[in-house]
């Protein structure tokens, strides 16, 4: 049986590959998107159970995507974890202001990220 679907929007193949492997090992179904443009198109279809969103993406940055996501009726309640190398307090506040449910800074702990995913899915 396939678990909840996680949408990973991340342009670095090493990181998206690691996330896919780790999350699939935990029983999640993983969908990968590389660019901001693809992410914007994806908002027109069914939402996943949770989104892991990189900040720096080609075409549209993570904040723009997040704001658009929060304005899309079907996606309003979808939990979003921002995953980014931007570690400043200002960036984190901007992420939460835009509607992120959690904020994880790279380099990150994979086990901790999976635990955050599970916690958010329990609360959703």
């Amino acid at each position: 049986m396939v678990g909840p679907r996680i949408l990973v929007i991340e342009d670095e193949p090493d990181i998206s590959g690691m996330l896919q492997f780790y999350l699939e090992s935990e029983g999640f179904e993983v969908e990968l998107i590389i660019t901001g443009a693809e992410a914007m198109d994806r908002l027109a279809t069914d939402p996943p159970a949770l989104v892991i969103l990189d900040y720096m993406l080609p075409h549209h940055n993570g904040l723009t995507i997040l704001r658009q996501l929060r304005e899309t009726a079907a996606w309003v309640k979808t939990p979003v974890i921002m995953l980014t190398a931007k570690s400043s307090e200002h960036d984190q506040v901007a992420g939460f202001d835009a509607g992120a449910d959690d904020y994880v800074v790279k380099p990150f702990q994979l086990d901790s990220l999976v635990a955050r995913v599970q916690r958010l899915l329990k609360g959703a």
Partner: protein
């Protein structure tokens, strides 16, 4: 007859030039295609290597120890680079497991071998690997790499030394940084980033105070200006008291500017009269930041400086100072006896007003 012969010569020259251009273009295209083909082959080979090694590394991160593939000699650089990228993105237990995997898969041996015979890029990959793997046995290899060219290899080896043994690494790396004329202060700070900042400040300050060569001393004080430690601040004060060479003095003033200690104003003020304009500029900038009592008028005294840069910096400091009312600055801009001072104030007032 004469004209026909001339035309013939021109035609021949044109043909030779045309054929030459055609030949050059053909050679250029052949080289371009060859390089492109080589790049495509390299990319394909790297992708093939990663297709084998990535799943194995991922499994090892989950405490599953799979059978490791045989590491071929020509694969070493690509596999180590993949390992480096993975450990750069994550931290915690998964990295520890990747280190165990690196040992089992022979990556440590491969990195040591690569550090002796690899290309420039491979030397950097090997240094990065040894640093991230934090294996103390890699220290002699890294000390050797830290003597090689170019700077990117030395810098990565130095950074790896600091990663493996932060305090001991700083003590061995700082004298190297002092010698490296091609090491920018931002690179030096990146090298030292993984060590406790107070240790870095103490060691760099000690070497800065002891340095005999003004260039080395200036490079080390540049680092102190960025890391902002207590020992660095004290060293900059001591050096300024010794009236160091101009390039060192200007950097010491930059350190004092960053620390914003009002009691430093007494050390800074004499440098407003220094013979070198770049030192006077730094003194104005530092004094403006320290905001000591009455210093805004000392800075205003630099509005008539013989050097444009000093006048401009002083005008900026006066216009933005909270200690002097805008109306007074505007009055100064209209009545100052020096026309260059008036010009500098009017210019800065215009800029600030427009912003």
């Amino acid at each position: 007859m004469f004209d026909l012969s001339g035309e013939s010569v021109i035609v021949r020259i044109s043909i030779v030039i045309g054929l030459g251009a055609l030949a050059a273009a053909s050679v250029f295209l052949l080289v371009a295609f060859a390089l492109r083909g080589r790049l495509v082959r390299q990319t394909e080979r790297r992708a093939a290597i990663e297709a084998v090694w990535l799943p194995v590394m991922l499994q090892s991160m989950r405490q599953e120890f799979p059978t490791t593939p045989t590491l071929r000699r020509r694969e070493r650089g690509a596999v180590l680079a993949l390992w480096n990228r993975m450990t750069a993105a994550i931290e915690g237990e998964a990295v520890e497991r990747l280190c165990v995997f690196a040992d089992r898969a022979g990556l440590i041996t491969a990195a040591r071998a690569l550090s002796k015979e690899g290309s420039g890029e491979e030397l950097v990959v090997a240094a990065t690997f040894l640093g991230r793997n934090r294996d103390a046995a890699g220290v002699p290899v890294l000390l050797d790499l830290a003597q090689k060219e170019p700077i990117v290899v030395r810098a990565e080896a130095a950074r790896a030394l600091v990663r493996i043994e932060p305090e001991a690494g700083v003590r061995s790396v700082v004298p190297m940084i002092a010698r490296w004329e091609d090491c920018h202060s931002a690179v030096a700070v990146a090298i030292l980033r993984d060590a406790p900042s107070e240790v870095v400040s103490e060691v760099v300050a000690g070497h800065a105070l002891a340095a005999q060569d003004p260039g080395a001393q200036a490079r080390l004080v540049d680092v102190l200006a960025i890391i902002k430690g207590r020992a660095g601040h004290a060293a900059a004060r001591t050096l300024l008291d010794r009236q160091p060479p101009p390039e060192v003095a200007s950097r010491c003033l930059a350190v004092l500017r960053e620390h914003r200690a009002p009691e430093d104003a007494i050390l800074v003020r004499p440098y407003l009269k220094h013979e070198m304009p770049f030192v006077r500029v730094q003194a104005v900038a530092a004094l403006a930041r320290l905001q000591g009592s009455g210093d805004v008028w000392r800075i205003a005294g630099c509005l008539g400086d013989r050097d444009w840069w000093v006048r401009n910096r002083a005008a900026r400091a006066v216009v933005t100072s909270p200690a002097i009312a805008r109306s007074l600055v505007e009055l100064l801009a209209s009545v100052h006896p020096d026309r260059y001072a008036r010009g500098a104030l009017v210019q800065v007032l215009g800029e600030i007003g427009a912003s």
